[in-house]
Symmetry: C2
Subunit: 495 residues, 2 copies
């Protein structure tokens, strides 16, 4: 992996001076074109200490327009980072469309150092690499240009460099404890890095190893590569076919998993009152304990229009302290959100430990409304199942519960509720012509919901299907499920 | 202040049941109207422990639509909060237009508790109150509805309440150490609170004290008041006159402070080279020290089109590590930013300690382009001087340097540079018809710049006027100024 970067390649002063003006002009021109493009550029600058990654970072700021690039050095996580799943800080640092994000400390830093210094076992290391691959694939699939540079220096060169620095009184301060420690463990670091690079050099987001011995050579090599890849990507995205906005029509309404639900289930008024009091009381106690023990949860409510999502949520929050939860309505994304991957806005507002986020509609919009209405291409919604499972697994690994409800009603019951809304003055704002038109798409939504439930019911984030023709029955089932999940999580925490 | 809230007022169960349905319907209707309004609602729920603020918070969530309200309990600052000026966390928590933000822990919490328990001196307390008043005025002036509720309980009632709770095995856990401590110091807390309430009960954002002894009474009283104020505000904003988009034409070009600048100042090529090397070297050392000592700065670049802001910034960042600074171009606000006070987006991206934010244009747009082009009303830009000084004072108090440059060139030099841009292929993108048209507004901009410099040159954030007809001279003056400011700050830090 690194042998090709130990050949002693150099660039003379004259060559450097000759190529630089055109290179800089071209870089600026490409960056200008990027500004109006529909993708971001993510550049990782990694490698051996002293091999030039910091210098490369500064040069890019000087050679290009620093106003449209942003540097990140994400090394040790801060206390705010630790309140979120591991990748939260990387998601939050991602550049929007048209901008360049440069990452010196990045998602490779902790795993490689952790593994090399034996703070991370081999299994954990492999899982880290798998997660990184999934993350980079997600970015790539969404159109991002991901460039990964590894600046390399042989052990011998590294030793000579430190010696040279120490001998120079003006620069001796640059030799840190870390440098010495890294040199001492050079062999182990090299092996671990080589493994990480090999494992994560996919066809879509490969590593580029750059020989770091000669300043001029390494700078020009990196800049040329970046320019070439950026230009190629700009051309590629330009000729990319327009989004296919063709929702596939469903002729025959197929039998789905939702048809198996017994929609006749109901509760009598006295049963409902008794159960409501019982479960709300139970939830009040459990939620308080969850808050203290820092058990948080993301609660997702999906289902047909008029299925009673709002009513179920209201019965639930009556048992909660408003400082603990937040109800998040998912409407059209803002323009900042549109300039990022569709999952970015959900990463943005995750509950912190002990808190509850209640999503009224959610990231599942991608595989429901966006699929059916043709707002997402088939490629986009098909890969979303994987992206969503990966997302929810990260929440779950971090200790957040993911509790998902699909509130199901029959088409007849929906029609009855629409009509009822029209006749109650305080509900009229909830019903429009659009709602009636959407009823024509019931079979398509049914197919989408069915596939969604099949593909995203995982052991860490199972769907709870709720028979909701009878509102009391549905509300109790929701309350009971939340209580059970919290209870189990709190018990696990005790062990 | 609190006597009127010790009258023992109550509401019977029957009355409560009678008024509640209509009250809730009306609250929901008003909230629905708010959703499309152009202002946010900020509700403070403060007061004595156990007087009902927590319950009021929960009730509002239940009675209104919880999806469009957000609760905040901002008590002790977190480590992320401590990396920013005190009010940063309040700015960040402000609701956007159409939403309701509810603050249990808020900007009064720390000052009142700090003063009552003698952790804060009297002078510091008064300054806190003055800052709070300025903050609330800023929100009010921008159209926000600010409602401040103080829930009160007499010492006697408070004592009885705790006794009652302790006697009940199911609720004894609710009596915390804090409750006991607060009761012990009731008198002092009452005096300090009364002072704070009196001092901050302005005509625009007065306090409403609510008697907290009876649950039904206090809930209905608060909800009714909120409904009434919200309805009034909705009506008021509806009949508010449309923005006056009338930039006042300037007939006669007046003599301004900028005319005093000697634009013939220049540096020879050899002088420039020597000085550039000298000051860049100096800056590199100072910036590194500032990073270590956590001295951060906000650098503002304003000035005429083609005055050389970009070139001056580039000469500066060449001496810096890209991980320390960020160049922030100020373009049109995003839709999330438009739904907040115009200063919100600058609060959003403040440098943390040790970091440098370099603003290419800035919050001064309000009193320059927005004033001249008529995007801001006269009221808006006139009060902006005060708001900006207040903002910069907070940065300065927190330890951030505020370094502001106005790069000044003559109209003739500007024309020469525009023509030059047209003839250099790599600069053509920088020049449009618009630029030439804007030259007709030079007198108006001159007046605006002059007033801005006069009104916002403060001891903590002075303007540096830069003679920029000669680019080398301007760049060196910028570098020298930054060095001097950093140097002085580092020396002060040593003392």
């Amino acid at each position: 992996m690194f042998e090709i970067a130990e050949l002693g390649r150099k660039l003379s002063k004259e060559e450097y001076r000759e190529v630089l003006p055109q290179l800089r002009t071209d870089l600026l021109a490409a960056q200008r074109e990027l500004q109006s493009a529909d993708f971001p550029v993510v550049v990782l600058l990694s490698g051996v200490e002293g091999a030039g990654k910091g210098e490369a970072l500064n040069l890019l700021h000087e050679w290009m327009d620093a106003r449209y690039m942003h540097a990140h050095a994400l090394g040790e996580p801060t206390s705010e980072h630790l309140e979120h799943p591991e990748f939260w800080r990387f998601w939050m640092a991602l550049p929007p469309h048209g901008r360049i994000g440069l990452f010196v400390g990045n998602w490779y830093t902790q795993p490689i150092i952790g593994r090399a210094f034996d703070k991370m076992g081999s299994g954990e290391f492999e899982r880290s690499l798998a997660r990184i691959k999934a993350f980079e694939k997600t970015l790539h699939d969404d159109g991002a240009l991901v460039l990964k540079y590894w600046f390399h220096l042989s052990e011998d060169k590294q030793r000579k460099r430190l010696k040279r620095l120490r001998a120079d009184p003006d620069r001796a301060w640059r030799v840190t404890k870390k440098d010495r420690r890294f040199l001492k463990h050079y062999g182990k670091l090299r092996r671990v890095s080589a493994h990480a690079l090999r494992e994560t050099s996919t066809g879509e987001t490969p590593w580029t190893v750059i020989e770091g011995g000669d300043t001029r050579y390494r700078n020009v090599t990196m800049a040329r590569h970046l320019l070439e890849e950026l230009s190629k990507h700009l051309r590629r995205r330009k000729v990319a076919p327009q989004k296919v906005v063709a929702p596939s029509p469903v002729e025959q309404r197929p039998v789905t998993i939702l048809d198996q639900l017994d929609l006749s289930r109901k509760l009598s008024r006295p049963e409902y009152r008794r159960e409501l009091e019982r479960w709300q009381g139970r939830l009040a106690v459990l939620a308080r304990e969850a808050w203290e023990k820092k058990v948080g949860a993301a609660l997702v409510f999906e289902g047909w229009d008029a299925a009673g999502k709002g009513g179920a949520v209201r019965r639930m929050i009556r048992a909660l302290d408003a400082r603990q939860y937040r109800v998040i309505p998912i409407a059209a994304p803002t323009d900042e959100e549109r300039a990022h991957h569709y999952l970015w806005r959900f990463w943005r507002h995750l509950p912190t430990p002990g808190k509850l986020s209640i999503y009224d509609r959610s990231w599942y919009g991608r595989v429901l409304v966006e699929r059916v209405e043709g707002f997402a291409t088939e490629d986009e919604w098909r890969r979303a199942y994987y992206e969503i499972n990966e997302f929810e697994e990260q929440l779950s690994d971090f200790g957040l519960l993911v509790i998902k409800f699909w509130l199901h009603i029959s088409p007849d019951e929906q029609l009855r509720r629409f009509r009822e809304r029209e006749h109650k003055p305080w509900k009229q704002h909830k019903i429009t012509e659009e709602d009636y038109r959407n009823r024509g798409k019931i079979p398509a939504y049914q197919v989408a919901a069915d596939e969604m439930i099949g593909r995203t019911s995982t052991e860490f984030a199972p769907w709870t299907l709720v028979e909701a023709d009878d509102k009391p029955f549905a509300r109790i089932k929701v309350l009971e499920t939340v209580c059970t999940r919290l209870e189990r999580a709190l018990e696990r925490r005790k062990k």
